[in-house]
Symmetry: C2
Amino acid sequence: MTNQPVSPTPRSTYRHGDLHRALLEAGVSLAREGGPGAVTLREATRRVGVVPNAAYRHFASLSELLAAVRSYALAAAARSMEIQLEGLGEPATKSSKAERVARARARLRAVGSGYVRFAASEPGLFQTAFATVGAPRETLPESAARGRSGLGPYQLLGAALDDLVAVGVLPIERRTHAEYVAWSAVHGLAMLAMNGPLHAMTPRQIEQLTQRVLDMVDRGI
Amino acid sequence: MTNQPVSPTPRSTYRHGDLHRALLEAGVSLAREGGPGAVTLREATRRVGVVPNAAYRHFASLSELLAAVRSYALAAAARSMEIQLEGLGEPATKSSKAERVARARARLRAVGSGYVRFAASEPGLFQTAFATVGAPRETLPESAARGRSGLGPYQLLGAALDDLVAVGVLPIERRTHAEYVAWSAVHGLAMLAMNGPLHAMTPRQIEQLTQRVLDMVDRGI
DNA sequence: TGTACATCAGTGAACGCGCGTTCACTGATGTAC
DNA sequence: TGTACATCAGTGAACGCGCGTTCACTGATGTAC
C-alpha cells in the first residue's frame, strides 16, 4: 500500500512538540485516502515519525483517535454545505414573498449540493463522517463537529427545512422527520457516486444528477 | 465475538461431501451477521468444521468466496423486491388507462419498498450486496445474482421505470439515469436505517418513512 | 543567575491476536482390470 | 465379484503480515530553590 518513508519529518528535538495535533492530522490524511478503516495507530505514528505506543500519551485508544478524525470530517462536511449557502449571497432587505420562497428553496438545494460535493471531493472523509458501517455506535464529540456557523451538517439541514416551513412551502405536518426524507435522497446519491455504479461518472455528470435529485426533493418533499 | 464450537457438524466420513456449498452457506451466515468484513476463510472453515486451507480446494481465494456471497446477497435482494411486486396481484386483463397508470406507479413503489425492507431485515447481506465501501471494484458473477424472474435488483428497477414511460407518467426525456434518481432515495434511506440515526426506529416507523420517501419519488421523479 | 530535581513525552522491546496463504502429506473414494 | 491403483479432498504444520496494546525505560524540559 502506502509505504511512507519511516521518518518523513525528522525531528531535531527529542520531544515532538505537538504530537497530538500531528497524530490527528495524520489520522485525517489516512481517512482521506482510505476511509475510516485505513486509520490505524501504527500507520499514523509511522507517518509522524514516532514510535507506535507514543500515541498513547495523547489518545487513550484507536477509537478515540478515530472519533477525533470523525469530528474533523463532520466539520469539513458542514463547511462544504456552508460554502454553498454562502454562494447564495445576502438576502434583499425588503424581499417579496416570492423572493423569500425562492430563497428558502435555494437554501435546501444548497445544503444538499454541499453534501454531495463533499462526498464526491472527499470520499474518504465522507465515509468517515457518515458511512461508518458496522462500527459500534459511539457518542460523537459534538463540539468540534461543526462548521463556522456553529451548526453541524444535520442542523444545517434542519434550519433549511425550518425556513421552508416559515415561508409556507413545506406544510408543518410534514416537517416531522423531513430531515430523513431529504437526507435519504442526497445520502443515497452520495453513496452511489462514491462506490456504486456512478463512480465512473465525471464531476459534471455527477453535478447534473445531483440537480435532478434535488429537483425531486424540491418537488416531492 | 462469535465463538462457535470448533466442529458444529462432526463428520463421520473423512470427506465432507459438499464443502463448496457448506463454505458458501457459512460465508452467507457470516455476511448476514457482520457484513462483508466478517467474511473470512478461517471463520467459514471453522464453522464447517474443516481445516482452514481446505477452502482452497473450492475457492481460489477469499475474494472468490466473497464474490459468491455477494451474488447470493444480490439474489436475495432481488427476491425481496419480487415479493413486493407479486403482492400487487395480477393485472386486470382489460384495464383502463387510469388503472394501468396506477399499476405502473405501484410497481415502482413495490420495487423501492422491497429494497428498503431487505436492508432493514437483512442489514448484513444488504451491505454485502450494495455497500461494499472501499472494496476494489470487482466484476460480479451476474448469473447467480438474480431473483426468480431472472432479473437482478437493478433490472427490476429499470423495468418499473420503463413501465412508467410506457404508461405516460414518466416523460421519455427523463428516463435516462432515472434509475439513479430513484435509487438514490431508497438507497439513502436504507443506509440511514441501517447504521445511521434511524437505526433506533421501530420497523413500523421505518415503514412510514419509506412511504414518505416513496411519495417523494412518486411526485418528484 | 545557577543548580537539583520532578515531571512526563517519547523509546525499545515484546505480547498475543486473527488473518490469508503455501507446502508436503494421507487416506477415502471410485475406476480399470 | 474381487483387487490394484490413481485421484484428489481434506490434514497438519508453518510462514509472514499488520494490528492494538502493555511494560519498564530514558532523557529533555521546566520549575523550585
